[in-house]
């Protein structure tokens, strides 16, 4: 047993860090440092920088054109991105549709789509959730009726991440209404420019437009755009839900939130000194760091298990999700506490510039409350904390379903 990274792994970490220092555009880094949103152009540009280096698709094997990294390398790569902080590769492309095409796609689909996915030539979004099907995904009702060599799709998809930027959507649709819940579902690739498809923004409580509702009104989708067999779409869904979740704990993000909180605390007053000297603030930060340290080892244990058991999903990744979110939320609360009243002004990212006076001294604090706000969603999406605890209780501890 040796809990340390190997020399190669440590060298790899330094290589990634050096790459980020050299290659991440300054404008993007500045935005990331202040938790600001990126434009579509920035995201695309960065994805292509990564792709030129061969690092745009960390989880892909070499046969798909990926780097063929070990789980530990993938972890190190993501952790460095999170701590730097630098943007992750677009997950809908890289972690979702890419592996689906790689695993279930026809040879033609693989050859045509994988390189475009990696290079963000096509931006993908996900069409899974519906107004009546959230945690209970298999309750979805969007219908796809076969007419010749097309499906005619009708329904509503919710919570589409970045749907307004996307060129393509991968969606679960019901192709056999008579079959029982999980059966009768198929997996389709839908062109976002299709007639009858409309995208309606959902603004989240951080004021951002990142998710959408997509209405499908007699949208015609070629049968050739189905992945995997008809009525076997649930296989794909299960594959995606149980898919590798390296870095799901997002420890590096929590570390960066803490770093930002400490930097602010060093500048705001508290009693006779600054907040960073307040013993209660310090112990609260230390408490989060202790938990992060433990979670980092837990993460390593899960990774080691994955390496040993050929990437079979580990139900313990539910622990990573639950604790990782909890700590990210806790770190964001500490950040908000540090900013205190300075967090109130909301101008900056989303408001039109103030005509009277271009910027307040505290504009840097304008993203802090939104970070705290929107991180509440992290315990909801991607398998809510409640769902993860159900999994742990039933799948790991064997309590009755």
């Amino acid at each position: 047993m040796d809990l340390r990274f190997t020399e190669e792994e440590r060298a790899f970490r330094l290589e990634v860090r050096r790459f980020l220092q050299e290659q991440l555009p300054r404008g993007i880094h500045d935005k990331m440092l202040e938790h600001r949103s990126l434009t579509k152009e920035e995201v695309v540009a960065w994805q292509r920088v990564l792709n030129r280096r061969g690092w745009a698709t960390p989880s892909w094997p070499r046969e798909w054109g990926g780097p063929g990294w070990t789980a530990v390398q993938r972890y190190i790569f993501l952790d460095e991105l999170h701590q730097f902080p630098a943007p992750e590769p677009v997950s809908f492309n890289v972690s979702m549709i890419g592996p689906v095409i790689g695993t279930f796609g026809s040879p033609e689909q693989k050859a045509r789509l994988l390189p475009r996915i990696a290079n963000l030539d096509d931006w993908w979004c996900q069409g899974f959730s519906e107004p009546g099907a959230g945690s209970d995904l298999a309750a979805l009702t969007t219908s796809a009726v076969r007419e010749g060599d097309h499906y005619v799709v009708n329904g509503t998809k919710m919570w589409q991440g970045m749907g307004h930027r996307a060129d393509w959507m991968f969606a679960l649709v019901r192709t056999d209404p008579a079959a029982r819940k999980q059966a009768g579902i198929s997996f389709l690739l839908i062109d976002m420019k299709s007639p009858g498809l409309t995208v309606q923004p959902i603004i989240t409580i951080d004021g951002r437009h990142e998710v959408n509702t997509v209405f499908l009104d007699n949208v015609r989708v070629p049968v050739a755009n189905r992945v995997h067999e008809e009525n076997r779409g649930w296989d794909v869904a299960k594959f995606l839900l149980g898919n590798e979740r390296t870095g799901i704990a997002r420890i590096g993000m929590s570390k960066y939130l803490l770093r930002r909180a400490r930097r602010i605390a060093a500048e705001v007053p508290s009693g006779e000194g600054c907040l960073a000297d307040d013993p209660v603030f310090r112990r609260r930060a230390a408490e989060i760091e202790v938990e992060l340290q433990a979670l980092e080892v837990t993460q390593m244990r899960v990774l080691a298990g994955m390496e040993a058991h050929s990437d079979k999903p580990d139900p313990r990744s539910s622990i990573l999700k639950v604790k990782g979110v909890e700590l990210r939320q806790a770190a964001s609360e500490l950040l908000l506490r540090a900013a205190g009243p300075l967090a109130l002004p909301a101008e900056g990212e989303f408001d039109p510039p103030n005509p009277v006076d271009p910027a307040a001294d505290t504009e840097w604090a304008g993203t802090i409350a939104p970070v705290y706000f929107v991180l509440r969603a992290a315990s909801i999406y991607g398998g809510s904390t409640e769902v993860q605890k159900n999994i742990l209780a039933q799948a790991v501890l064997g309590l009755p379903k």
Binding site: P269, G340, P341, E347, D351, V356, T362, Y381, T385
Partner: protein, 376 residues
Amino acid sequence: MDFNLSEEQNLLKDAIDKLVLKEYGFEQRRRHAAHAEGWSRTFWAQLAEQGFLALPFAAEHGGLGYGPVELMLVMEALGRGLVLEPYLTTVVGAGAVLRQAASRAQLERMVPPIAAGERVVALALAEIQARYELNDVLTTASAAPGGYVLSGTKVVVTHGDSADLFIVPARTAGGRRDRDGISLFLVPAGAAGLRRRGYRTQDGLRAADLILDQVRVPADDMLGAAGQGLPALEQAADAVIAAVAAESVGCMQALLDLTVDYLKQRQQFGGPIGRFQALQHRAAEMLIELEQARSMALYAALMLQEPDPAGRRRALSAVKVQIGKSGRFVAQQAVQLHGGIGVTEEYAVGHYFKRLSMMEAQFGDGDHHLARLAQA
């Protein structure tokens, strides 16, 4: 001990509850917020018409002479409606300063237009270096012929961009954190040398920073004795905390109601999600926190009348600690139990969540007040 409302109080409560219910549905609120000032002059006029803006002022000055319990009833209703109008800063905050520090003549001049809804007065409590310390004042007021000249900056003055008049603490003597030497001034929004930077705040309200550059204030517009302004300011801050406690209770009650309704209606895995025990227990815990907060809002109303200022301040610190803790839990859990829609702008839950979060960050957060209690 008597927790019953008097008949008069019941009438008042009914009136404000009805008004908010009628005028402040979530969609109506969106329209109020869309005004340039971020709130509705029409609704403000309705509040005036029904006497709510006159509530805490003495009858002899044009008010109705009600006390903290009545303000609590109003604030709780405004909390339920997530009301945007400047009641907290004008009627509660500025109102408290005026009642404490203003002369009879000043009151007679100020109260009628406030009560009529014709004058919005904002209380400029904070400077940037002060964080939550009321006595940390760097803005200066130098004596000048016929009055004073004020220079300095006040930050995050709620409704500062639509206010007609400000109450501005400034130093006529002493150093940065001295308790003595702080004087209170009335400064009209149009005063020469006063610049305002307005902005939206994270809870959908608006605020402004005030930049005072050689603003001349006549001696008549000083409130109370020179250098003796802090006690009135502290009293006002405590009144604001009590009001924020009641507003928070209103928000939490609304969140609990929305959540329980959602749990009863939302279907998943073949039934309402409210049948799941883990969610039931969470709702029960929200109720417990709400009731603890409600108790503290009542306690605040009582303790505002405490004659010993140190005892009053301690009590109000305890109130703010509990309110912040309860509010944080209730808001976070309401969002969690709503799932996705809880984090959207389209749905009321997220707005209550944001308002509660921002109330925690103002007027001293839980850590600030807990440290005060722990020092005592």
